[in-house]
């Protein structure tokens, strides 16, 4: 029986899963995913995690609990930095420890290899080599797997930029038939907030059903994002934060969107700053309605629907009345 490695369907899953999956498959290892987020997963996560952590971290704990009895290893790499001179949230950095010390029972061995490209992007292969060493001794086999993994990551990113949503690729769902609508709304937020159907109560589908085109940061050309983000007076040193603020700046300048929704989770330190910066930038640019939605473990479907409907109604009225309605407050 092949070795089973468990990957929680949370946090960086939405960003890197194709890469990880290809890598492990090439080494002849079975990859086991946790079930899509459910109420049970969320509740278990909330119970086992420290109270002050943000929602995505709590959900991650839930996914680990869902997985731990079914796998031989848990794959929780320590994502410290994925680009030169940049960082990821400190909680990603300490994630293996948070899991280890919060969930103590029957935890399989954790593959907590550090991925740190802050000083040197070449470190990535070294990290993969260390991951590979858990299962194979053959250097060239690991190298081969690494190259294939990079290839599939590259393809995944390209596919996203061409307008796919991660769930269409990762969960092999059918592509939305029409990719345009009478309105276009940008949904901005961390990948694990905007693509986890349970957490955001399937906000993208809600828009699609109302014939609204949805644009997310993953659809925007990464070079354009980079360019816009570099125009900030100080370099944004959080990789994911940079993508969000860069997308918003890009949208303000180029894309014809009718509204921007920023989805943040309660307790997210990075979003607290980025959302405020986005709000300020959008407001200064003038005419795009901006809506900040905060999610936590108590968010309810009805309340969210009401607010979304109000936002969409407002945008539709603006269109009819030729923008005679203020874009903000």
């Amino acid at each position: 029986m092949p070795i089973r490695v468990g990957i929680p369907r949370a946090l960086a899953y939405y960003e890197y899963f194709p890469m990880w999956e290809t890598f492990f498959h090439e080494l002849g290892i079975e990859v086991v995913l946790s079930a899509p987020t459910t109420k049970v997963i969320l509740n278990n996560g909330v119970k086992s995690c420290v109270d002050e952590a943000c929602l995505p971290i709590k959900i991650f704990h839930g996914h680990v609990l869902d997985l731990k009895d079914r796998v031989d290893y848990l794959f929780i790499p320590r994502l410290k930095s994925v680009a030169r001179n940049e960082y990821i949230c400190p909680k990603f950095c300490g994630l293996p420890e948070m899991i280890k010390y919060s969930i103590k029972e029957n935890l399989p061995p954790i593959i907590d290899v550090e991925i740190n490209l802050r000083k040197n992007p070449k470190n990535l292969f070294k990290s993969f080599l260390m991951i590979g060493k858990f299962f194979a001794d053959n250097h060239s086999q690991i190298k081969n797997a690494y190259e294939k993994a990079m290839q599939s990551h590259y393809e995944y990113k390209k596919k996203l930029e061409s307008g796919y949503f991660p769930d269409e690729i990762l969960e092999h769902k059918t592509k939305w038939k029409v990719h345009d609508g009478d309105l276009c709304i940008a949904v901005i937020g961390h990948v694990y907030n905007i693509y986890d159907h349970y957490v955001n109560m399937d906000i993208i589908r809600k828009f699609r059903e109302q014939n609204i085109k949805v644009l997310t940061p993953e659809h925007i050309d990464s070079e354009a994002i980079e360019r816009k983000a570099n125009s900030l007076p100080k370099k944004m040193f959080w990789t994911f934060g940079k993508r969000l603020i860069g997308s918003v700046l890009h949208i303000i300048e180029q894309e014809k969107v009718d509204g921007i929704i920023y989805i943040m989770s309660f307790g997210c330190g990075i979003d607290a700053f980025i959302s405020e910066l986005c709000k300020i930038k959008v407001k200064r640019a003038g005419n795009i309605p901006f809506y900040l939605m905060t999610l936590d473990e108590h968010s309810g479907d009805a309340g969210l629907n009401t607010r979304l409907e109000a936002f969409i109604d407002m945008i539709r009225w603006r269109k009819q009345n030729e923008s005679d309605i203020s874009a903000y407050g």
């Binding site: 002050e52 400190p90 040193f237 997210c268």
Partner: protein
């Protein structure tokens, strides 16, 4: 140009020494008050951490007193402090204040840009006098921290409660009247000798508590409801793991001169946390381990709500507490923290520590556990 800066405990004395020596006009923000916090809470993002909110309040109050330039230090992550400067600039601009925000940092190792900014503040002072001023300010920071440490030792032992605080109050009042590093140093030393003369009870053997956590909430008395004084007056000796002088020396001077850093906490934290996670997360774990090994009776972790590195540390601390058999209390502060509830929790913790110590002395098998 009238410079201002955020309050952080006794840091204002150090900054005053620095700016006095450089002959720069400045405004010391009024001591943090409820109004400061209210202003900050109103204009800062809701989920920003308490330090940012208090900073904003400080700046607004200083601007009201005539300041037109804000000077702060920076960094490059992953803690949010690295982006404070940009947030300050945008928020103050949004409020319609015409102030310049100068962030003292090495953006991507750009020394030239750093010197430009220093030049802007100092108005073209020569390098020698700047270096001299920095050395003097560092001296002041070391002396001020020594004074704090002395107070922490005298307070639980003093025969007449409140004497130390009375002298300290006088000290803070006088500091505004003296000018220049030399006079400040003289004042600190005379205050220290005055405190040393306080009558103490040699028989008292107080409980010892180590304070760990996020640097701002540890150092700024307004943010932590003056926890050092509170504990001291309950008859407890405290040790604060983070100090201004240490921060200045380890995080600013040594890296700038490429000197080897002295970080004992890194090794101590190793069994629990292998890497730095930004902010003072690793320090929190490492110093807790060190306190436990030095035989302290308990540890209090302090941090502002939503502080990212400390959340990671908090989830590790229960294991440290279990394995090294030391009670740890975590206190989280934000603008809604009430003093009474906060104090009750501390008192309960202290009661528990006292019982624990008693039983330990009586060799009782049953010892209460951490929180």
């Amino acid at each position: 140009m009238k410079v201002t800066f955020p309050h952080m405990g006794n840091t204002y004395i150090v900054v005053k020494a620095l700016l006095d020596s450089l002959d720069i006009d400045f405004v010391i923000p009024p001591p943090c008050s409820k109004r400061t916090l209210e202003l900050g809470t109103k204009y800062a993002p809701e989920l920003a951490c308490l330090p940012l909110k208090i900073n904003i309040g400080n700046f607004i109050e200083s601007i009201e007193k005539g300041a037109d330039t804000v000077v702060i230090t920076g960094g490059c992550g992953p803690c949010r402090f690295g982006y404070f400067g940009e947030m300050h600039r945008e928020i103050l601009k949004e409020l319609g204040y015409d102030v310049e925000v100068i962030v003292l940092e090495l953006p991507n190792g750009d020394v030239k840009e750093f010197l430009n900014r220093v030049h802007k503040i100092t108005g073209g002072k020569n390098v020698v006098s700047i270096v001299k001023a920095v050395i003097n300010a560092t001296k002041v920071s070391i002396e001020v921290d020594k004074l704090d440490k002395l107070c922490a030792q005298i307070r639980p032992r003093e025969k007449t409660r409140g004497k130390t605080d009375w002298i300290l109050k006088k000290f803070h009042h006088q500091i505004g009247k003296v000018k220049g590093a030399k006079e400040i140093l003289r004042l600190i030393r005379s205050t220290a000798s005055e405190i040393q003369k306080i009558e103490t009870d040699a028989k008292v053997s107080p409980l010892k508590i180590g304070l760990v956590g996020e640097i701002y909430t540890l150092i700024e008395p307004f943010a932590n409801f003056n926890i050092e004084q509170m504990l001291g007056n309950m008859g407890i000796e405290i040790d604060r793991s983070l100090t201004i002088s240490n921060w200045i020396i380890e995080h600013m001077i040594k890296p700038a001169l490429h000197l080897r850093k002295n970080r004992p906490y890194e090794k101590a934290a190793l069994p629990y946390l292998k890497t730095m996670i930004g902010g003072h997360g690793q320090e929190t774990i490492g110093n807790s381990v060190l306190y436990a090994k030095q035989g302290y009776d308990g540890i209090i972790q302090l941090y502002p709500l939503t502080c990212m590195p400390e959340i990671v540390a908090e989830s590790i601390l229960p294991t440290v507490s279990d394995e090294l058999d030391i009670p740890i209390l975590t206190l989280i502060v934000d603008e809604l923290t009430g003093e009474a509830g906060y104090k009750t929790r501390i008192e309960a913790f202290i009661d528990m520590l006292e019982r624990r110590k008693e039983r330990k002395l009586n060799n009782s098998e049953h010892i209460l556990f951490g929180n």
